[in-house]
Amino acid sequence: MLSIIPFFQWCDNTRISLAIRDSRIAFPIIENFHLFALTVLLGSLVVLTLRQFGLVYKTQPISEVAHALRPWNRWSLAVMLVSGILLFLSEAMKCYGNTSFRVKMLFLFAALLFQFTIYNRTVATEDNSAPIGGKIAAAVALCLWFGVGLAGRGIGFLG
């Protein structure tokens, strides 16, 4: 079976990886932006979920709330991915042996897949109230994204 270790080794040795490792402040700065993006990404998702459960902004159609939050959701996701890739490059070999990192990647792929195939489509059809299926989809999306955050913290704490 083809091993993925050479890929991680390659990631660990790119010019960007070395530059981030050589700098004392690059990693903290990138991680700070990763944290800002987490706040916005999860925050926008929490607001939308609250709306789908009928707990806030009941006078606004769900699709309207989703539309207002969409740019914030998308941009924070972009910042999240770019900063996340940079953080990964700077410590790819450490990530390779890290169980939390593997769990995080599983959650990340599941969250992205679920959001862009099922969740966004259910939201687009919801007007004044979300059907039970829409509420379940919202809860699943929220749990998957919080799972990404939870496992992300685990990378530092648990290994």
């Binding site: 987490l38 916005v40 929490v46 902004y57 606004q60 939050l69």
Partner: protein, 163 residues
């Protein structure tokens, strides 16, 4: 008793020592503190953006703000409780950290900004509730709030690197 010796006493209490020396409790509290950012600052972002005139412009400011407020306060309550416990178990390190001191000053300023907004321009919200872009005083309050909270997050994160 000096502040430093109070900090020393605090982290030597049974609760302070227990949290610090446990394998699980500290990471759990810290993780809740970080993820609750989405409920506190994440929701604050929405109301601040409305004040700045960038989001949900066709909806009254008071509606965008008031409906989200109880949830936002729940988020800030979680942040405060977990934050107090994190401080409790490493009070001396926090006391010696310039980032922690800056964070506390900024938290006080953010609170003053929020109170000044509520007691100031927001009292007359009836007059500008439907404005696509709220008056200058409200926009400044929104900007100030977001900038300060970004700085608070930065101080909190940086503090942990220096411990």
């Amino acid at each position: 008793m000096s502040i430093l010796s109070t900090c020393q006493w605090l982290q030597d209490t049974y609760i302070g020592t227990s949290i610090r020396e446990s394998i699980w409790v500290f990471p759990i509290i810290e993780t809740i503190h970080v993820l609750a950012l989405s409920i506190s600052v994440g929701l604050l972002l929405v109301s601040d953006l409305r004040l700045m005139g960038y989001i949900m412009k066709r909806r009254p400011v008071s509606e965008v703000y008031e409906q989200i407020k109880p949830w936002m306060f729940t988020g800030f309550a979680i942040m405060t409780v977990t934050g107090v416990f994190l401080f409790w178990c490493q009070a001396v390190k926090a006391y010696n950290s310039i980032f922690f001191k800056t964070k506390v000053v900024l938290l006080v300023l953010a609170a003053i900004n929020a109170i000044a907004f509520e007691r100031g321009i927001y009292r007359k919200v009836d007059k500008w509730d439907n404005a696509l872009v709220p008056p200058m005083e409200a926009r400044v309050a929104g900007w100030a709030s977001l900038i300060m909270w970004a700085a608070i997050i930065t101080c909190g994160r940086t503090m942990a690197y220096t411990f």
